[in-house]
């Protein structure tokens, strides 16, 4: 059987984590290609629906990346994201899904290595979890 390759959707803020991901590339730091990034202006604009939709469509993990606490380009969007993620995790848990598939990380524009390490970590942890069962149910 082919090795399980998790599908990871990343919602990254334009100013910090997206720039950090760019820096990883500019510095030629290698990380697994499992992550597919959607650029948003701020982690605070991540709607709970985006995360739920990604999980329901079969993403094995979702990463929300924002600026470090206190460093948000829009003052406090990352705090809003943090609160929202807590809610989304609660919803997932209520529905009997694994909240461990949702990741939120603060990665600044200068932390290319941290971005690469984060992706690697998510891939490893998600491999332990196995494929998103929701996706398999859709496939019946």
């Amino acid at each position: 059987m082919e090795e399980f390759e998790p599908k990871i959707v990343g919602f990254l803020c334009n100013w910090c984590t997206y720039a950090g991901a760019d820096l990883a590339g500019t510095s030629r730091i290698q990380y697994p290609p499992n992550i597919r990034v959607i650029r948003l202006m701020c982690s605070g604009s991540v709607d709970s629906i985006y995360i739920m939709k990604a999980i329901l469509e079969g993403a094995d993990a979702v990463l929300i990346g924002g600026c470090h606490p206190g460093d948000c380009h829009y003052l406090n969007g990352n705090y809003k994201a943090r609160r929202k993620i807590v809610l989304v995790k609660n919803i997932l848990e209520t529905l009997g899904m694994e909240k461990e598939r949702i990741w939120i990380r603060w990665i600044s524009a200068s932390e290319g290595q941290k971005f690469a390490d984060t992706v690697r970590e998510i891939v490893e942890e998600t491999k332990k979890l196995g494929p998103n069962p929701v996706a398999q149910r859709w496939n019946i």
């Binding site: 599908k7 959707v9 334009n14 100013w15 997206y18 720039a19 991901a21 760019d22 820096l23 990883a24 590339g25 500019t26 030629r28 730091i29 290698q30 990380y31 697994p32 290609p33 597919r36 990034v37 959607i38 650029r39 948003l40 202006m41 701020c42 605070g44 604009s45 991540v46 709607d47 709970s48 629906i49 985006y50 939709k53 990604a54 469509e57 079969g58 993403a59 460093d71 380009h73 829009y74 003052l75 406090n76 969007g77 809003k80 929202k84 690469a116």
Partner: protein, 652 residues
């Protein structure tokens, strides 16, 4: 149905060596809604741009997807190309297949598969992208400069000479800042006040500069082109229109010689009513409410002597604090730095001995207008020192204090050595403890060499402790060059403390919406390419508030910030970024959550219609209101929920 074209860039071999560009082009041309897909070696080149423009015309496209480098790199370039090609510039979507694909992955198949998914998602979004129009706001042709040190002075003069009205706000009673406290400047040994005073006078007399000393910023609202600023004018208790600057009141004051003088680093004393220093601009007296007997107790003898002494009748104890509103188009922040208080570092003995002083205190001792009239005397005994020892990097380059280099300490100590030799002759022994001598600027290395000829004992290392003994100070220093431990007996120790962010910088950053770097200094938009911009459009930074620097660097940065500020002011109107929030009035129920969520006060609940509105000049397009809106009435243009959800669908 939209007609989208996909353009895939090889970026030389940067993309093409990892991603199968031909395969990707073939994949893209098969996607729904894609009319044509093309690849080219350098899409951002003139030829590539022409290819895009020609293809738009040939296939009558109304949207484009460009798979190339990061949108942070060339999004603007391609928007312009699309506009030249005849389509709305906001119907362009960039796919990042270089930084986030070909450069980060080396497996050709996996990278190509990822690139296909990214293109798929971008096409899904591009099909839904709406054409947007840029709105315009008029520009207020005034500037605000905050801080009246050399950075603020230079920025104000540059802006005023360009013909713009400048409000220069300074919190102290006089402009001049730290530079006015210096005696001489390195490496030329220019007299600081000789080069600064003419500039200060020019500021005072400039018809375009409105000087607001003894004032503080209370709040800043609005956005680039139109900031509304509230300034607190502290009461001087002196009518500046009447005060002639004669200082008769200063000499008459009952507190004369009893109040520690901040300008002289508390080495001397002043009166409760005082002139900060002889060259002060404006040359007006100020009453310090914390030490004035009349202001503290409500009476002063049989009547305040200053009132009696002032022939002009300028003393006015009834003055009250005022809030002044000003309206400006751009802002230069030049609020300067603090010196680290060395009393927090026990080993240097600053709090144990009067003869352990800082460089700024030595400046005041050397200055002819200082408390000793330019005589270098031991603060404890009033005698001339026989030996002076400099300790560099006090708190600087120290993991436990400030990790950064203060950039001026080495040079200022070398300058003092020149001045000490000038004032005290060859008889005095001079020691210098350093970590590294950093003489990086123009003419600095030469200055350092000339100092080495001044018979100075250089020790490389940091002392373990400054000890007070009966007849002076003793210091243990392990010299890492010779590998030997020395015990030095000396009369005076001069500490060169770290430059740190101002104590109020956190509060000030909050008022201005600025961000600070880890060290606490204000953060520039880009460390190399946008060194005077901040994350707030229209607000620029200059001088040591951004990080330690010397006078020459400060002045060039101030001129840079001023010209950036002037570039905004020289326009009649500014184009607003159209990728902001919008409210669908049919759906909005007027719950007001967006008003609470918006960090920029750009959301208003219309009292009449009970529908939320967006102030387009204030909205920065963060999207917080959109994800908070419970009824989906808020829309983030170019990042709509439908667009993002379509992307999610197509990316998995």
């Amino acid at each position: 149905m939209s007609r989208v074209g996909v353009f895939i860039c090889h970026c030389g071999v940067n993309i093409a060596s990892v991603v199968n560009v031909e395969g990707l082009t073939e994949f893209a041309s098969g996607l729904d809604g894609v009319i044509i897909a093309k690849d080219y070696k350098y899409m951002c080149s003139d030829v590539g741009a022409q290819l895009i423009k020609d293809t738009i015309k040939e296939y009558n496209l109304d949207g484009v997807v460009i798979a190339s480098c990061s949108p942070r790199m060339h999004e603007h370039t391609f928007r312009v190309v699309a506009e030249d090609g005849g389509i709305n510039p906001f119907r362009v979507e960039i796919v990042n297949i270089r930084e986030q694909c070909s450069w980060a992955h080396d497996d050709r198949d996996k990278a190509t598969k990822k690139a296909k998914l990214l293109v798929n998602a971008a096409v899904a979004k591009a099909l839904l992208l709406e054409p947007l129009e840029k709105s315009k706001t008029p520009v207020v042709h005034n500037a605000l400069v905050i801080g009246g040190g050399i950075a603020g002075i230079q920025a104000s003069l540059d802006l005023a000479d360009d013909g713009f009205k400048v409000y220069l706000v300074e919190k102290e009673p006089s402009i001049g800042g730290r530079m006015s406290q210096l005696d001489k400047t390195f490496p030329t040994l220019d007299c600081s006040s000789c080069i600064l005073t003419p500039k200060m006078m020019e500021v005072g007399n400039h018809r375009n500069i409105e000087l607001m000393t003894y004032c503080e910023i209370v709040s800043v609202e609005g956005s680039i082109g139109n900031y509304k600023v509230k300034v607190r004018k502290k009461p001087r208790y002196v009518d500046v229109e009447k005060c002639t600057g004669c200082t008769d009141c200063v000499n008459a004051c009952r507190m004369k010689g009893k109040v520690p003088d901040e300008f002289n680093m508390k080495l001397g004393n002043r009166s409760a009513i005082y002139m900060p220093f002889p060259q002060a601009i404006p040359l007006k007296c100020t009453i310090d409410p914390n030490s004035c007997i009349y202001l503290r107790t409500g009476k002063c003898g049989k009547g305040p002597l200053c009132v009696e002494a002032c022939e002009a009748g300028a003393i006015d104890f009834k003055q009250k604090e005022e809030i002044v509103d000003i309206n400006v188009g751009s802002i230069v922040v030049a609020t300067g730095y603090d010196l680290l208080d060395p009393s927090s570092l026990y080993e240097y003995g600053y709090s144990r001995s009067k003869d352990v002083i800082t460089t700024l205190e030595l400046e005041r001792l050397i200055s002819p207008s200082g408390p000793t009239g330019g005589e270098i005397l031991l603060p404890s005994s009033g005698e001339k020192p026989e030996s002076v020892t400099f300790i560099l990097c006090v708190g600087s380059r120290d993991e436990t204090q400030c990790s950064w280099c203060c950039r001026v300490g080495c040079m200022s100590a070398l300058k003092h050595i020149h001045l000490l030799r000038e004032h005290l002759g060859t008889g005095v022994e001079i020691n210098l403890f350093y970590t590294d001598i950093r003489s990086f600027g123009k003419g600095y290395e030469e200055f350092y060499r000339s100092t080495r000829a001044k018979e100075v004992n250089f020790f490389r290392g940091r002392p373990s402790e400054v000890r007070c003994v009966s007849d002076g100070l003793k210091i243990d220093i392990f010299d890492t060059i010779t590998g030997k431990l020395f015990e030095i007996k000396t009369g005076m120790v001069v500490l060169v403390p770290a430059l740190v962010p101002r104590a109020d910088s956190e509060e000030f950053a909050r008022i201005m919406n600025l961000t600070r770097s880890r060290d606490g200094f204000f953060l520039e938009a880009h460390p190399k390419l946008r060194p005077v911009d901040t994350c707030v459009n229209g607000i620029f930074i200059a001088g040591c508030c951004q990080g330690p620097k010397d006078i020459a660097d400060t002045v060039s940065q101030a001129s840079g910030a001023a010209s950036k500020a002037a570039a905004i002011l020289s326009k009649d109107e500014l184009e607003n970024d159209p990728m902001i929030a919008w409210v669908d009035p049919v759906i909005c129920v007027g719950c007001g959550i967006c008003v609470e969520v918006c960090p920029y006060s750009a959301r208003i609940l219309n009292e009449v219609t009970r529908i939320a509105e967006v102030d387009e000049a204030l909205c920065t397009g963060c999207g917080a209101c959109v994800s908070a809106c419970p009824s989906n009435a808020s829309v983030h243009k170019s990042f709509t929920k439908q667009q993002i959800i379509q992307m999610v669908d197509s990316i998995i």
